[in-house]
Symmetry: C2
Subunit: 375 residues, 2 copies
Amino acid sequence: MAVLNYLTTTHFDFGAIKLLAQEAARFGAKKPLIATDKGVRAAGLLDQVIAAVPEAKAWPVYDGTPGNPTEEAVEEALALYRSENCDGVICLGGGSSMDLGKAVALLAVSGEPLDRFDPLKGGGRFIKGLAPVICVPTTAGTGSEVSVGFVIILKDGRKVTFANPQIIPKAAICDPELTLGLPPLLTAATGMDAITHCIEAVLTPAINPPAEGVGLDGLWRGWRHIKRAVADGKDRDARWHMMMASTEGAMAFVKGLGAVHAMSHAVGRIKELKAHHGTLNAVCLPAVLRFNEGVCAEKYARLRQAMGLPDGADLAKAVEEMNRAIGLPNGLGAMGVTKEMIPGLIPYAMGDLSNLSNPRKATPEDYAALYAAAL
Amino acid sequence: MAVLNYLTTTHFDFGAIKLLAQEAARFGAKKPLIATDKGVRAAGLLDQVIAAVPEAKAWPVYDGTPGNPTEEAVEEALALYRSENCDGVICLGGGSSMDLGKAVALLAVSGEPLDRFDPLKGGGRFIKGLAPVICVPTTAGTGSEVSVGFVIILKDGRKVTFANPQIIPKAAICDPELTLGLPPLLTAATGMDAITHCIEAVLTPAINPPAEGVGLDGLWRGWRHIKRAVADGKDRDARWHMMMASTEGAMAFVKGLGAVHAMSHAVGRIKELKAHHGTLNAVCLPAVLRFNEGVCAEKYARLRQAMGLPDGADLAKAVEEMNRAIGLPNGLGAMGVTKEMIPGLIPYAMGDLSNLSNPRKATPEDYAALYAAAL
């Protein structure tokens, strides 16, 4: 088994889930809250964890995490955490469950309300600490198990990215076994989420070459294995590499993200659309790649190399072809976004944390054009 | 200025040295020992640091570090540390000063003798802690400022690698300004040290894709800039990238190293030769690249890509050409090693920690052939 000792100690391999109780104990969590969702439970993954880790049977479970987690759900889970006297959080699921669990761990120690921790308002100074968080991803895309942030839709309708080094989970257990049953469409969407993380992290101008190296490795791995993982969910080798690409994507985006995420978050906050974050990233990525081209020529050359594309290949076109090949929608229109919605999206994209780290400064007019192109 | 928050918080840029006192204070070091060597002092670098950091004027200085640091020198520095009631170590120099300083920090808290910490004898269990270590590299090659280890020649003649996650320095201050005066030959030798770290770390079979990504990025950077840094020591851009390649090389070799280092350490322990570690690595690298080829074909393809070489290019030949171009010796013979010495080197190479992580198992006969080829 690989043990990756970076900021999050990551146990990575088939069967790693067996280490969950031991890891919880290591951080003093005797009665952690399991933060998950109904889909994870219905897929039998909670049972799979309990079968491998008998201690988990006694741990309280919150399974009300919505697809795009909300402040209301965080409060509900926090109430359960408190009434059960929990002392840690096990996040079991995709990005939604992990983000919700991280928010619960923050509020459990640093206190409500959530929005005072908004990094755009200097919220880091209010963080007194977090309850110990151990993440167990069941998808390969978000990388939230090693990331500095979480994203929650607040009661006022904003979808806010909370990012701070203190939020990085103590430990992650990445067991690709838990992803073998993930259906093709979710495999494709979450896989493109990981690939988008790697690409946007490399392109963002912050100076952090080690993170760029990790992002390029994740891109190399993800791009080579995504079609195999989508075509055959039981392809253990492909599942291993997709999960690694996901973890690496989030290690890389300690550098920041870019306009793709600004666009996705603005759409993701519209609850009625129930739009999947990874799918949004996949369909917005080509337009942003065309927009950023020219300001980062050397980095584009390295992205092409990592993706095994010839010199000068059209990156945006390669992503469009990949999206088509793995069955993802061909644009935001197919996901319910209409031309009329665009003006309402722009202020949220402009106000998103990821907008600040896009390599090319984007104006409201640019976002209007980007949304139109991605439609 | 780039701040790289990995296991070692690394302040990286021209002028970063100004942060030294602040970083020392952050780890509670009010009177740290400066571990350095006479070459660093003679080059004016100690004065340069004191000019930028007035507090450093009051810190005791040990400048007796030999080219390949010995247990005797460690004890001498430790005696000064104790008599001056120091509370931390600032390592100022190349790999030798950094390794010596790390050893002093270990013994100051965990107690002598040094050899009980040998990782090949399970020595990690004796580590009770280290005094805070802040490294300030003045060469770009060793990467010891972020590495898990240090190498010391013990009184019994063995050159032992002490490696443990607890040894990773708390902070590093990487200021390429301090390398502008490094002469061409030392620039070449230390630069090839960094490049060897990146290559051996990628090739070693431990599973750690993020470390591999970092190593490939370091190789990409180092290979592109080493000739420029050697040709013009004042090329600030080349110096920046060489220092980053050095840091990345050591972040990568958390995975382990290989036969090049086993060979180099065995020669480096012969005090009369006064052989430079980086130069030894550079001249041993081609033979080991030929030896390992075939067991890691996919990794060789990635190394070629990082080095900008065409598909199928002869890696060993490329390194030989590079060594020639930057003025390094063409073999161990030119460094004083004779055919007759080879049998005496083999047991030390076989017993070296790095031998265990070479991708292809090497026998004593293999080392005989490797030394003969590198002669």
